[in-house]
Subunit: 319 residues, 2 copies
């Protein structure tokens, strides 16, 4: 076997997934561990070592060209994770040096949404595109921006935080005390809040009234919307209106060829895409009308995190 | 003399300025003609030819490496000007091929704000910066964005239209029927409208009441503000609040090292910069606080248009 394998690692708030990816973007083997059993990152590295050992034995450590890691607040420039709100680790965690020392392989780190964008470029529907944006609609709203064929890291390494553009100057409260950030509306958390507001403000019948408020999740809303529930559809329309208009502001910035919507809410397919496209096209500046495709991701949801992380190395090495 | 001269041409709605620029960014000679005597661009090219002939004779045509052109709606990719609202020319004007055919020199075209950004990078205060944004506060609001050391043209060539991000969903009417675009507030036109509103809504004394409404210009407001006029200062504060908050959205996109403010309103110096910096820093996401410099341009206002246009060629040829 040639030296052509990459290990992709996706560090999430709860679980860390990993997989061995070949040069065609096939995941040959995968697994996962719990991310934070303790607040000590060395403990995490040791457990990761135990979990990866069988894979390095099976596929031969010599065949690996590197390790790509996607993680919340992962900084491409410094190789560190800092102040990640969903992780127990405190302070500055020098993740790249910890992994490189343990596994003796070149390691690249960035945040999960940036990894998703590189994954889309290497293995997904953005192949050949030089200018595009990936929006991940998960618990929050993440984004990865590609300009002139390169990911936008900016001066600090933290560029592409589109969940925190202001869409309502006096709107919903966001982490850190800011108000009206896009992700407080266009995310799993955001649409749950929207449905709770809609249920309070109307007496319209809805299957969502049967779910206790504390148990309501975005997947319930997506299921209800796909079955035609009026409140769920209204919530999706409201979300689409805010998202569609925000996307027009991203277009005047970088004029992308496509914007990919990815993550939980994108599972609603036409229920999200149709109204978002309408609000988007209707609000675009004339010069940009019909120049931007609004697309679902080309990566299967279950494999995307590992492929995205692996793509960080694949892009660098152009395998 | 080495082959090291560039001709910079800045096409404005009224006048077209041009200058001969050497490799140190010195303007050796300059001049101007009226842009649109007729709606025929060939007529413009012939008049330009007459005006440039003495310069090509004096500095020797052989010493020129190219011509850089900044123009409203100038498209870098296609070399054309299309639908420029302030020019009489109609349809698609193939400006680069018209100029190249006439003057037999490699020609590069982009819009005036993009030219200003390249000018800042080659001759101004952005030397050595890889990520920055130039905002021109003129009649409208233009912008040029540099990411990873390259100007952002995007898929269409029209990226960087930051005057058209939405800052007030139901705000002031903009060209083309959109509402609440940034440039309807943060521009010469915008601040004049703000002052007119303030004068109507209050009975506060102001030197600006002496000027007939139809004659009020932003320079009057800047002069009044610099002399402590309360209405003028309020108008600048209102402008700064909207601009400062909008800049925070640009930071989450590309995490620039600096944002340069340029053009008429920037002449107010501290009257604009101080409140804008306050609103900007107070509204920034924590991760970006104290990472972005807000700076005046390093190019002299009178030379900037020619230097910016010339820089288009200088950058390509790295002279």
């Amino acid at each position: 076997m040639n030296k052509s394998l990459v290990l992709g690692i996706d560090i999430g708030g709860t679980n860390t997934k990993f997989g061995v990816v070949d040069s065609h973007g096939e995941i040959l083997a995968q697994g996962s561990i719990i991310t934070c059993e303790t607040d000590d990152p060395h403990h995490f590295i040791n457990r990761l070592d135990q979990a990866l050992k069988p894979l390095f034995d099976k596929f031969n450590h010599e065949n690996f060209i590197g390790i790509g890691v996607g993680a919340p607040n992962g900084n491409f420039y410094t190789g560190t994770i800092e102040m990640a709100p969903n992780l127990k680790w405190r302070g500055v965690v020098p993740l790249v040096s910890l992994i490189e020392n343990k596994f003796k392989l070149k390691t690249v780190l960035t945040n999960d949404a940036n990894a998703a964008a590189i994954g889309e470029m290497i293995y997904g529907h953005a192949k050949g595109m030089k200018n595009f944006i990936v929006i991940t609609l998960g618990t929050g709203l993440g984004s990865g921006i590609v300009v002139n064929g390169e990911l936008v890291y900016g001066h600090t390494g933290f560029a592409g935080e589109l969940g925190h553009v202001t869409v309502m100057p006096e709107g919903r409260l966001c982490d850190g005390g800011r108000k009206g950030c896009l992700e407080t509306y266009a995310s799993a958390t955001g649409i749950v809040k929207t449905v709770k507001d809609l249920l309070k403000d109307s007496s319209e019948t809805s299957s969502l009234r049967k779910i206790e408020e504390k148990d309501l999740r975005s997947k319930h809303i997506t299921e209800a919307a796909l079955q035609g529930d009026a409140i769920a559809l209204k919530a999706y329309d409201y979300t689409a209106a805010i998202l569609g208009r925000a996307l027009t502001d991203f277009v005047v910035f970088s004029s992308p060829e496509a914007i990919f919507l990815f993550g939980g809410l994108a599972q609603a397919k036409d229920v999200l895409f149709k109204p978002t496209k309408n609000y988007f096209e209707n609000n675009l500046m004339n010069v940009f009308k019909n120049t931007v495709k609004l697309l679902p991701s080309g990566l299967p949801e279950s494999d995307a995190a590992i492929l995205g992380s692996a793509a960080l190395i694949a892009k660098t090495n152009r395998i």
